[in-house]
């Protein structure tokens, strides 16, 4: 698959080889099982799991979804079965596929993050840990960290000590201070960045005068967010020398190429999976076509191309 038609879609990110540069975003692909009825998991470059917490987590009260113009709000709130069942049921099943798995780790305290990340690393079944310090949907679930580069660095350093696999940190699209945050995370020992998580957002049912989401606020994802994601990748990749996985509203191959050119070494597809379960295989084909038409032989040639062409 990688090299047909003279185009090589393989990339390597933080030392992890991917057969193509499209991953599935955390929370939009479950842990693969449900989607596997409709899409060949091995067609993905990689999979980022739904957030895993130490204890099982029931999540937020419904409604949890609302659609906005070219966007979607969600307030799932980390619903998951907890570390133990994740390690016994989901991760072993996923490891049966030729598919690198990023385990998305969330917590309500530093200790919980450390415990989950450490267990995931020790399992030997994950390609990487993705530290979710930016979930807008839980009070103590990370939004706090993204306000304080210092505390974030502290968390990353603690997790770094207990993890033997590449460690990615997932950030929201900070409207200000992306450079500062990226540097703090890099110095604390992260191996890569995932950009971006959803933006805090809200919608109101004006007829009934009540919030559209049971949790009142949620996170905005989808194409509405895409230009913000491109900017975040641009800022972060200009500030630190870490690989970046770009995500946010990828709906077409050219959305992905924007992220590559802004500096992303790979791209993850989120909300689109919920609409089109076979989106990644389609994007893989579209990317192959785009690269042939534009004379790119490898994805890496496109990564960070704007800066190499002199844009600042």
């Amino acid at each position: 698959m990688g090299t047909a038609e003279g185009v090589d879609l393989r990339v390597e990110i933080a030392g992890i080889p991917l057969k193509n540069p499209f991953l599935a975003c955390s929370g939009t692909f479950g842990n693969g099982r449900e989607m596997s009825e409709l899409v060949d998991l091995e067609a993905l470059g990689g999979l980022m799991t739904k957030a895993v917490t130490l204890e099982p987590c029931a999540g937020n009260p419904p409604p949890r979804l609302w659609e906005t113009r070219w966007g979607m709000l969600n307030s799932i709130g980390l619903e998951n079965k907890g570390l133990e069942r994740f390690l016994s049921e989901d991760l072993p099943w996923l490891s049966g596929f030729d598919l690198p798995v990023w385990v998305n780790v969330a917590g309500f305290s530093v200790r919980e993050y450390v415990e989950v990340a450490s267990a995931v690393s020790r399992s030997g079944l994950a390609a990487a840990v993705e530290l979710n310090i930016s979930c807008p949907n839980v009070e103590r679930g990370g939004a706090h960290f993204s306000r304080h580069p210092g505390e974030t660095a502290g968390l990353v350093a603690r997790v770094r000590e207990v993890v033997d696999i590449p460690l990615f940190v997932k950030l929201p699209p900070l409207t200000v201070g992306m450079g500062e945050m990226a540097r703090a995370v890099a110095e604390a020992g992260a191996d890569g960045l995932s950009l971006v998580n959803t933006i805090p957002a809200m919608a109101v049912d004006v007829e009934r005068a009540c919030p559209r989401l049971g949790n009142v606020t949620g996170g905005l994802s989808g194409p509405a967010l895409h230009p913000v994601a491109v900017h975040a990748v641009w800022e972060a990749s200009g500030s630190v020398d870490l690989p970046v996985i770009g995500m946010g509203g990828v709906w077409s191959c050219s959305d992905a190429v924007e992220l590559f050119m802004a500096g992303a070494g790979a791209v993850a597809v989120g909300t689109l999976n919920l609409v089109e379960p076979r989106a990644v295989p389609r994007l893989v084909e579209e990317l192959r076509g785009f690269m042939s038409a534009n004379g790119y032989l490898t994805v890496t040639e496109m990564v960070g191309l704007l800066r190499r062409k002199g844009w600042r």
Binding site: A58, W70, N273
Partner: protein, 263 residues
């Protein structure tokens, strides 16, 4: 059967007042169970998510949904013309349990909630279960001539809020007097307040003979995103995905108190 993802052609559209029945071709092997739904792309203007519609009819090589217009997506969908393409994912979810000791089934529908019950009624009758469809709506003209058509195939009782047709009142006012569960199976689909009243009328004894199809906003439809949470009784505080573990739930499975709060 596992869900299929397919593009298909609209064969026929029948308008019934505020709703339209869309009939389209289905791929070989497509075998929906009553209560399952189809997740249909309703394109345009930056509308991202598919919209869920219960299977309304199925007949070998074609199936249909009944689309009531409530917003942009349903408006788009019901304006499709024969020959237009539809993008469909399904059948999805857990449908109604057709087995049961009681020989008589009461099908209780509010508004467009009639859709899954019509298909259910057909299947029940094929199994020799006696089924009566109770259907409540705002006014007698709301669904055009659909009541006439349905009345030809099933024992149909109507209630209208304005009294313009059938009994004046809600669909619950139609139910056999004093019915609190015993001797009947109850299958229900409709607006949340209707389900809540029905449940409180049947509780505690009759909830075990009740099955309801619950509507919740959906994204993936596959159980992957956990967006369509429905509060369940066991374990306390937990949610189930309406799209996979539902949309049909047994009356005893649901946490009716939390359902009430989130309405």
């Amino acid at each position: 059967m596992p869900p299929l993802l397919f593009k298909t052609t609209l064969l026929e559209r029948r308008d019934y007042g505020c709703a339209s029945e869309l009939v389209f071709r289905v791929p070989p092997g497509f075998q929906p169970h009553p209560g399952q739904f189809l997740h249909i792309l309703c394109d345009g203007e930056g509308r991202l998510l598919r919209r869920p519609f219960s299977v309304f009819g199925h007949n070998g090589r074609s199936a249909s949904v009944l689309v009531r217009e409530v917003g942009g997506g349903s408006a788009w969908l019901r304006r499709r013309m024969p020959g237009d393409e539809l993008d469909v994912l399904g059948p999805l979810g857990r449908g109604f349990d057709l087995d049961g000791e009681e020989e008589e089934a009461l099908l209780i529908a509010g508004g467009a909630g009639v859709a899954p019950l019509v298909y259910l009624g057909q299947r029940l009758r094929e199994r020799g279960v006696r089924a009566t469809l109770f259907w409540g709506m705002e006014s007698g003209k709301e669904y055009g001539t659909l009541p006439e058509r349905l009345g030809e195939e099933i024992d149909l009782r109507l209630a209208t809020t304005d009294g313009s047709r059938g009994k004046r009142g809600t669909v619950l006012d139609l139910l056999p007097c004093g019915s609190s569960g015993a001797g009947f199976r109850y299958y229900a689909c409709g607006p949340r307040p209707m389900l809540l009243s029905l449940a409180s009328r049947l509780a505690p004894g009759g909830l075990s003979s009740l099955q309801v199809s619950v509507e919740e906003r959906m994204a993936c439809g596959l159980g992957a995103c956990r967006g369509c949470a429905v509060p369940v009784a066991d374990p306390p505080g937990a949610y189930r995905a309406a799209c996979r573990e539902g949309p049909v739930f047994g009356g005893e499975e649901l946490d009716w108190e939390r359902l009430r709060v989130s309405t």
